[in-house]
Amino acid sequence: MSRILLLGPAREAAGVGHDDIDGASVAEVLRVAVARYGPAFEEVLSVSKVWVNGEPCDDDHPVGRQDEVAVLPPISGG
């Protein structure tokens, strides 16, 4: 069970800003998330970066209950 953080357009597409999701790796968490939130989220995810605990991370990175997986769509600050 990891925490997923959904930001900006990813939050909007998922309909929630954060959630708890089962999965032993980043890829597994994202697979569950796509199944849960549907195609609009999948589309945003396809152009997003994924970080674990505030840092860039590979898809096969293992995650557990202390970990936060964040979905970061293209940014537009400033």
Partner: protein
């Protein structure tokens, strides 16, 4: 009220930014130059609508970490800098209001100008932040968006 004893100050703010407070805060007796940059909400947009308001959202924690990285990177490049302050708004920013303010002091002006430009360029490339454009009758995420890049690669 603000961390006077420090030389860096970063914040993510839900209330209107006050450029004059940042300008005054970075001013130091050994520095002859202060450059203050305000990124303000403007009416024109990539979508062609007449913008009335911008809405910013982020993860405060992640944004603050990246803002600190931006300042650290500027200090590596320009060790002469005096004080550095960067604040980014979240929530609703009306037309002409600042969405981001950067204030930098240095003994001489060249470094202050260069560092302020570097900081705003790098904030735009590296700080997790999402902007929604609001016009009369609609709103949409900004189309001027790009993949987030690590500060070291920005």
């Amino acid at each position: 009220m603000y961390p006077k004893e420090n030389v860096d100050w970063v914040a993510v703010c839900a209330t209107p930014l006050e450029p004059d407070v940042l300008t005054a805060w970075v001013t130091r007796p050994n520095c002859g130059a202060v450059v203050t940059f305000c990124g303000t909400a403007r009416s024109s947009s990539s979508t062609g609508h007449d913008i009335t308001e911008l809405q910013y959202e982020t993860s405060d924690e992640m944004a603050l970490a990246r803002l600190r990285d931006v300042v650290a990177s500027a200090r590596e490049r320009w060790p002469e800098l005096g004080a550095v302050a960067i604040q980014h708004r979240v929530g609703s920013v009306l037309l002409e209001q600042p969405a981001v303010v950067i204030a930098i002091s240095s003994p001489h002006r060249q470094e202050a100008f260069e560092a302020a430009q570097f900081c705003i360029d790098t904030v735009k490339k590296s700080v997790p932040m999402w902007k929604r454009e609001v016009w009369l009758g609609g709103s949409a995420w900004s189309q001027e968006a790009h993949d987030i890049v690590d500060v070291r690669d920005a």
